[in-house]
Symmetry: C5
Subunit: 355 residues, 5 copies
């Protein structure tokens, strides 16, 4: 989950606004989906060509152009000139290592953020950058091109006309996209909560080294998650407080709602971070405790048997003149002394609370 800034260095030296795709290269073509709707009806085109967007540009209906895959730089270039996007915005769209932010460009608003999902197999977080551009009567969403996206339920809602979405403008559609993406952050957090809970059980019952690596892995994912979620607060706040007339007052109530969600997500991330720190402390303490236990066993054994072995050694010496050797009760006496020494030792350990 180390964020890869790698390909960014390819760009150093190029003039600002030069379009270079930064990110994992994808093969194949960019895919365009057009969804044009108003209160009366819906017009949909999958695998459309860019020039099919043009007729919708000057109608009053809301046009949602969803582009998957950023490898086709020419496509983006002509999209940019068609909708009058600033070269820097196009550059930001292509650079998939963006910090989440929103830019008010007067005739349109640009939003970029991370869409997170959990890989069902490896349980790792999958991150995909989504750019959203919306103007008076259109919304353009641009995804990196990972297989599948989170917007299918939203499309379904538009098609069926459920909810208020067909009655609202492109600002509401942009909000809905944000809402869908942010709702998925909660899903990630739920998975975390489950993993933390299961980890805590193991922590108490059986602190193994694997737990350590699991904590480390979760910490790293938390750092990544936080980096993605933290700027959301500012992003949405900027939109809500914007005086652009592209965002209608009715939509602002909804933005305030996802602002609360973003704050909640950040709170939860901080909470989990603290819990992970606390768990690491506990793990370390448990290891210390165990070591202490091991040391005690060793010390008890050594303290009991070393004097005894010494005593046995003394009477194993081969001196000619050792009176005790010849005594009738020498052997039992020595055994008795040995038991006595061991007994005293055990008594002392009991008193010191080591046993």
């Amino acid at each position: 989950m180390v964020e890869k800034v790698k390909k960014r260095s390819q760009k150093t030296g190029l003039p600002p606004g030069t379009l270079v795709h930064i990110g994992t290269e994808k093969v194949g073509k960019s895919r365009i989906r057009i969804l044009d709707y108003d209160e009366q009806g819906v017009r949909e085109k999958n695998d459309a060509l860019l020039n099919e967007c043009v007729p919708f540009r000057d109608t009053d209906s809301v046009t949602w152009i969803d582009i998957e895959g950023l490898q086709d730089i020419k496509l983006l270039d002509s999209l940019g000139s068609c909708y009058g996007l600033h070269p820097l915005i196009l550059e930001d769209i292509l650079n998939t290592d963006q910090r989440p932010k929103s830019d008010d460009m007067e005739s349109y608003i640009y939003i970029v953020l991370k869409m997170l999902d959990v890989d069902p197999a490896s349980l790792e977080i999958i991150s995909e950058q989504v750019s959203i551009v919306f103007g008076r009567n259109y919304v353009i969403s641009l995804q990196e091109g990972r297989e599948g996206d989170l917007f299918e339920p939203l499309r379904e809602r538009i098609r069926s006309g459920r909810g208020r979405i067909r009655k609202m403008g492109p600002d509401y559609l942009a909000y809905s996209l944000l809402d869908t993406i942010i709702d998925h952050y909660f899903l990630i957090l739920e998975k975390f909560a489950e993993r933390i809970e299961s980890l805590e059980e193991h922590l108490v019952n059986d602190p193994k080294p694997e737990i350590l690596h699991e904590i480390h892995r979760m910490k790293r994912e938390m750092i990544f998650l936080r980096k993605s979620a933290w700027p959301l607060r500012e992003l949405i706040y900027g939109l809500e407080k914007s005086d652009s007339d592209l965002i209608r007052p009715a939509t602002k109530i909804f933005l305030r709602d996802i602002y609360d969600h973003a704050v909640h997500i950040i709170d939860s991330i901080e909470t989990y971070r603290e819990m992970l720190s606390s768990m690491l402390d506990i793990y370390l303490s448990s290891v210390s405790n165990r070591m202490n236990q091991v040391m005690k066993v060793l010390t008890i054994i050594a303290t009991i048997f070393m004097p005894l072995t010494f005593l046995a050694g003394v009477y194993g010496m081969n001196f000619k003149y050792m009176p005790e050797i010849g005594w009738r009760w020498g052997y039992p006496l020595v055994l008795l002394i040995m038991f006595g020494v061991a007994g005293v030792m055990i008594y002392l350990f009991k008193k010191k609370n080591w046993l």
Copy 2:
């Protein structure tokens, strides 16, 4: 106490404002209690039906509708249309994983926060989300539906007409609900203070591993408590500074008072957190100290007996030509040397302050 975000993911993809109950599902019906009062008298209905609220809607008396249990979505839906609540507010009420906040919706004010109590048996913190909606002449409080609530003394006060509550408006009732809930946070903190005090005694006298787990448990509860208490400050500040005419100036003095309480609670939580951290440090140091002690004992024993055992071993060798073996005073001499070595060792340990 890991906050469960679990069921939230059921909602992803649904249009905003869709009413889905998020939280532990309860069986049985939602219970409605109506308490309508003015300076002259009190009208009370337990287990009321929703349409029994309607007549009170347009009177000047204050109507307190208390709903326990959020499972009946239809009920909430008709409550919403009766009092003109925004769908997003209804959604927030149903979602029991809300960050405490207050929303000024012009014709009414929405407050959501956590009501905390201590389970008398397990001493664990019980958390229940409470939503408060108040307008010109009504207060609606909505609880998750845990058995019992904290508001009984407040009801008693209204019935008996003690204090100024019957003379004040719904804003004062809303304040009183907040006050009751926040006062209980102090109770939680008192329990914490007691547990910390008892823990500290054990820490000094007998640092057992159980203390570690107790500290961990308390840390987690503190994290949870903090997450619940921290937003209260902002919440009450928002109410106090609100320019809504639903909150009368006379009530604002009282809000300032609970604002001070909230700040005090947050201060105390931070204090306890620091004390727990300090205690963990001390615990770890104590464990290190003990280990050191154990190691010293082991080293002393080994350092004394290993040379002696070696000496005994030397004279246990079976060489034919060992002159000392035949000496008359060989044995006592060796014993003397042994005592000497042991004495020197003990002297050295005394000097090194190990004994």
Copy 3:
């Protein structure tokens, strides 16, 4: 020094503004002292009755009513109605677990803070809550009722007419009370500085476990001190920036002075906290170092004597056919080998810098 929130829970459920004394119960009566002064002279009454205050209420001279002991709720009640104090202020006065703050109530200003002293016997911090209410021509100070207070030199100054106090108004008297209390915080910090210095010497020369507990105790006192001192900054800042005409401009210069003091105190507390943390780190490192030392001794002893003992053991075996046993120089040879092994070991330890 765990702040006791204990009795606060007795209040949950009571209407706000109900007067209940929260704190350690004292027996005996509350004591009233009246000191009325203007530039011309001083009128003083010890052990006064409340109605003796009344005549002073409407004169132009400054009246200082000092009340020790808060157990007499009726007294406070009538004081409140005499001077027109808000019920919430009276409630705050009685609750001795208040966060330091100042409230501007228009016709009077309310200040509450902690008066700290050091117990000469146990060297523990003694804390007593002091409430100060001052209006156009009076100052009321309310103490919890601990034996003795810090204000005697101030009274003496009023009586003797030293300094400018007799020429100034009640705001200057209130300032003087604050100044006296805050000056005592420096005294506490001086004691801390001394203890830290003596602790540091021991830390370097002889790191015993007792130091650990002393550090812990000081950390806890620091946490408590900080909780008392931190809000002072805000409190005095609020007074200084207040636009109430109860605080004259001439007094504000003096308030700015104690504002600097408060900031200085907070700085020093943070400094001591950091020093204590640093000392704990050093202590822990010292313990680790010592353990390392102990382990080295053990390892050296074991590494030297284990091979030797084994060698002695070999020639203590009773095999019939052991040629070395019969050799003329077997014994001295073995002894020589033993010395050789020991020598090599010691040489290796020297090279590894263990000796």
Copy 4:
């Protein structure tokens, strides 16, 4: 990478504005490069003399004077009087231990920051201070004089007329210099990401002491990087929000873009710092775990063999009257007992999960 403040002390006592070169002394001459351009064409002079700049001063074309090497104080002095630079600005240029900042001096703007590069051989960060002064029609960039710089691609862009640079003013050129420098910070961060990744693999597979030193080295470089990058945010923010008419609105959009870059860089640095901290924790825990493992082995061996050796010692005693010695099955019996003891021990360890 310890920032060397060393030579700064040479200056104490000199009047402010005295020009003294602070930094690693370079031999040889300062090198001047002039690049004068407008939309029509480019005029370039390498190894120019200062008086060759003068003719360009009053034309409308943009003049970029790039100076490498600050050792020639006279040169700077005459540059200062030619372009009317304040003595303090000249002093700041000469002092290569500056905190990055921007100063608006009305007729020109002064920017100072660190240009970072990675030494291809040692992989260490190379830092060089760059001062940028720009006015109505000129940009002066001053480098410490390290071999080579990052601006060659920019010069190429001006020469070839690619991009919009030839059409824009000196503010855009200054922005381009900043952009080039800041883009290189991403390169540094990429190298870090790679090193962290490779370190993490080793951390999991084979935690050696070298990793510790590598973490320490990276931490130090991070501290240095952060000190260089943190003020960039403020620097660019100051430029963007400046009301100087030297910065045209068209350029401000570009400044906002590198402002986002700076924030992104700072975010990444904080992320890497946290990851390094987390890695150090994991390393320490791994070491503890390993120690625990070692201790267990020792304890198991000692616990099994000490009792056995004692037993062997007992029957090696030379007492005359030891009945067992004479028994026919004494020896096998003792061996059996020995195996029994060892078996019980191993069983206990298995049960305790030590094996």
Copy 5:
């Protein structure tokens, strides 16, 4: 370097504005030096009497009165009445335990800060409080009275008329004093950088316990340095943003310059603090690593020789019926077995990477 608040407690109870000297008492007289200058010339008097200042009070030339030693309270008192200083300012001057700050008193400005130097013998930081009061045509600097000061080069500059100082007003002189003092902070930081560098080398090559105490000492000095430097930022910012007409606009550019210096100093202090923390972590880890190494040696020795010694012990038993004893090849066989066991052990350790 524990800041001594000691004598401050002598003042508790005295009226505010009472002049009591707080600090290390000095014997001997306070020394007054007068330096009066304008663009035309300089008049200088060493060891002057206070009434010699009076004639300069009403001229237009700048008078710099430098007082060393604060023990002469009467002197300060008459100085105060001569220049109309507020009693609280005099009190602050005498109290040498002040937090650095600046106070705008309308007819004059008061600045107090710490002048730091390094003792050439012990390398310890020497701190002396300096108060600066400047008005329309005078600057009064007051030092605690430590032997020597940092202002000699400044005096020389005034005498010789170098730089712009003779042409500027008292505000520029005050700035020059600040500049001189703050420049010396860099010198302290340089010494720190050197010590840290030399410490780091030892840390890597030979982590001895002395390093620990050196780190502790440096940490404490850092805490002290930080306490002195942190308020400088606010102090200079206050002067720069002041709307007092005592500070001319031309001087404000210079103040902005030392503001940057102060920020730089604070940045560096934070950097060193972090590096010290990182070094402590590394030290602790090294100690753990070493302990681990020691433990491994012990374990290897014990694990090899304990089984062998046991084996030797077995054949040292005196049983009558031990068939192996009589075997012809018993002894070599046992030796072989012993070598085998040792070999297997060593092989296992190699495999576990312990050797």
